[in-house]
């Protein structure tokens, strides 16, 4: 067990995977000489050379398309999309090619690639560099989707992604790269596809993922001070996702809230809330709540950006409202 950062954990996972398997290559913008826009791939080109760490021109569609072709012919490429906001440039290659090849071709040709990217708010990067677009990915059959919140998960989910036979979209959070935490390379937080309970509680369940997990945990601390015990579950893997532990927890507490940093309409939180509402209807004391970003583009002004997304305080107040039915001061 060593203390490291989220950034270093991802870099280490890539380095170790490349050492273990010569088929692993990296392809993306600035992944080589520059070392990655957020420094994740620093040093890898020196270690593995330009044939395995490929600095690509600014051609996101062909970067993902080349990764698809490389994966079809025996390599295990890790394509990097510098910001998830650029996913629109790649959507045909991702949703029509990578996701559907195995199926369309009757199981003959799989696409074992990983698309690494990062999203989220917190750096005043404005409307085209701050989004949380995981719902676009989750909607497409054929794509796996994971979003690590912790240092240990950043390492292990990436190593696990690099053993998967199908395309995995691995979305990091720009606000977590400097997060410090313990890394135990022998011990993952949970199995591939399994949510992880980060805090036990009896009064309600708060489900979050990526950076929002930390806001949920901070909210749970403050709720405990007010005598409300919130269970906090980290979804981690959005596809595959083992729903049984979520359903068990919601049936046990009767109250649930799903938190996302994405615009709430049509979000991952909407999907999870729908599944829990269907599965737990007779056990629910209250509707399953969704708490997400406002349905607006992300504004650049720091105060507006902060105001657009859930915070620990907003999660705490909303959870209290759900449990006590006493409205917070900001409720109209």
């Amino acid at each position: 067990m060593t203390e490291t950062t989220y950034r270093e954990a991802i870099g280490r996972a890539l380095r170790e995977a490349m050492e273990a398997d010569p088929a692993v290559i990296l392809i993306g913008e600035e992944v080589g000489l520059y070392g990655g826009a957020y420094g994740v791939t620093r040093g890898l080109i020196d270690r593995f050379g330009p044939e395995r760490v490929i600095d690509a021109p600014i051609s996101e569609a062909a970067i993902v398309g080349a990764a698809v072709g490389a994966a079809m012919t025996g390599l295990r490429p890790v394509a990097e999309l510098m910001y998830v906001d650029f996913i629109g440039m790649t959507m045909d290659q991702l949703a029509n090619q990578a996701a559907k090849s195995r199926y369309m071709f009757g199981g003959q040709i799989g696409v074992p690639m990983v698309l690494r990217t990062q999203g989220g708010t917190g750096r005043s990067a404005a409307a085209q560099h701050s989004q949380s677009l995981e719902a676009w990915v989750m909607h497409v059959p054929g794509l796996r989707l994971v979003m690590p919140a912790t240092v240990n998960d950043a390492y292990h989910l990436l190593r696990q992604a690099l053993t998967q036979p199908d395309p995995v979209v691995f979305i990091e959070h720009k606000g977590l790269y400097t997060l410090k935490g313990d890394l135990d390379t022998e011990r993952p937080d949970g199995a591939w596809g399994a949510p992880v309970t980060r805090r036990k509680g009896r009064d309600l369940v708060i489900l979050g993922y990526s950076r929002m997990l930390h806001e949920c945990l901070a909210a749970a601390e403050r709720l405990a001070a007010a005598g409300v015990e919130a269970e906090v579950i980290d979804l981690r893997c959005l596809n595959p996702l083992d729903e049984a532990p979520l359903v068990e927890a919601v049936m046990r507490t009767g109250r649930a809230m799903v938190v996302t940093e994405a615009a709430v309409t049509g979000s991952v939180a909407s999907e999870i809330a729908a599944r829990l509402s269907e599965a737990c209807f007779d056990w629910l004391e209250e509707p399953v709540l969704r708490l997400g970003a406002e349905d607006i583009p992300i504004p650049v002004a720091p105060a507006l950006e902060r105001g657009a997304i859930p915070t620990a305080n907003l999660i705490r107040e909303t959870a209290l409202w759900l449990v006590t039915r006493e409205a917070p001061p900001w409720a109209a």
């Binding site: 045909d92 369309m104 003959q108 199908d166």
Partner: protein
């Protein structure tokens, strides 16, 4: 009289005849109501792609556009399995899940036909990276139509191939039409090889009415690609029929069609072989054999069983990994007897 017929030339004639006979049977399959849908894009008039497929080696891979039956046959496809796939049958190449526009075969290096214009082009870049890194000596060829000359992904891909010296060939089968739009209504400048040359590729154009001209051009480009000098070849052809089965081509004149159909690669090859001394009867026999073979393929496709309904849930993900949950199971878990408290 001495017969000096080149057996490779005869082989290419035979393959082109097989392609045409196959495509004619695809039309019959549709008229019988036995095809899976009507999105059937015939490559009649474009059989000279055989000049390229014949220049490739075993182990080379390729992707095609939606009009790729001829290319796949040229690379050795079994017409019965192809026809079964086009009919959506379990004995088809993709077990009835892909159809005409998504046919593929790993064993023959077919990395997939594609129904997104330009969609398969970057895959040869990735295959090229694989072959370069492994020093395997293989090449990858992307086949696409003139429509893809208007897609950005082509230019991203050509740039990467040139930049990284990949063993890749881009092959544009210009049949003059992207659906109903003739190339002079879609291309600001019509010199396609010049576009490729501007990216640093070796580029050529060949007469699609002459398979030997296509083959001569392709041989050089294929060998250059194998040495890490990627290339581009335009085959100047004519789409004899409509875009798909339902299209009667109201956007073009009978005169234009007559002129285009006169540029028939089968007729050109036939005349050449006869000039070289092959008897008309010998060519007729080749034609008859191809027709009989494709009749058998058609009969197989019609008789073959469809895939079982449960097959729809397989191959979304790899075997042994979590599979999609059928909707009925989800609904039963919510509404089934004994579920609700």
């Amino acid at each position: 009289m001495t017969v000096t017929v080149n057996t490779a030339d005869v082989g290419r004639y035979r393959m082109m005849r097989r392609i045409r006979s196959f495509e004619e049977r695809v039309g019959e399959l549709f008229l019988k109501g036995e095809s899976a849908g009507s999105m059937l894009h015939l490559s009649i008039g474009e059989e000279a792609v055989v000049g390229v497929t014949d220049a490739m080696a075993a182990g080379d891979s390729f992707t095609t556009h939606h009009r790729g039956h001829g290319v796949f046959l040229g690379r050795g496809a079994d017409p019965a399995r192809m026809m079964a796939e086009i009919a959506g049958k379990e004995s088809g190449y993709c077990r009835g899940k892909g159809g005409s526009m998504h046919i593929a075969d790993r064993a023959l290096g077919h990395l997939g036909a594609n129904a997104i214009v330009g969609g398969g082009i970057p895959h040869v870049v990735g295959a090229g990276i694989s072959y370069r890194n492994s020093r395997s000596g293989q090449i990858a060829v992307a086949f696409f139509g003139d429509g893809a000359m208007s897609q950005g992904i082509l230019y991203e891909s050509m740039n990467m191939a040139a930049l990284w010296h990949l063993p890749v060939l881009f092959c544009c089968v210009n049949n003059q039409y992207g659906m109903g739009t003739r190339v002079d209504r879609s291309a600001g400048a019509r010199d396609f090889p010049a576009r490729a040359a501007a990216f640093g590729l070796s580029a050529a154009r060949a007469d699609g009415a002459d398979v030997e001209a296509v083959h001569a051009a392709a041989r050089g480009l294929v060998e250059a690609a194998r040495d890490g000098r990627p290339g581009f070849l335009e085959i100047d052809a004519y789409r004899f029929f409509g875009h798909a089965r339902m299209d009667k081509s109201p956007y073009r004149t009978p005169e234009e069609e007559a002129e285009g159909r006169a540029r028939d690669p089968l007729l050109t090859a036939r005349h050449r072989l006869m000039a070289e001394g092959l008897a008309s009867a010998d060519l007729d026999r080749i034609d008859a054999e191809a027709g009989a073979e494709m009749d058998r393929a058609l009969a197989h496709a019609v008789a073959a069983p469809p895939p079982p309904l449960a097959a729809m849930f397989t191959d979304v993900y790899a075997p042994g990994t979590p599979a999609p949950r059928p909707q009925a199971a989800r609904l039963a878990a919510i509404l089934g007897e004994g579920v609700r408290a």
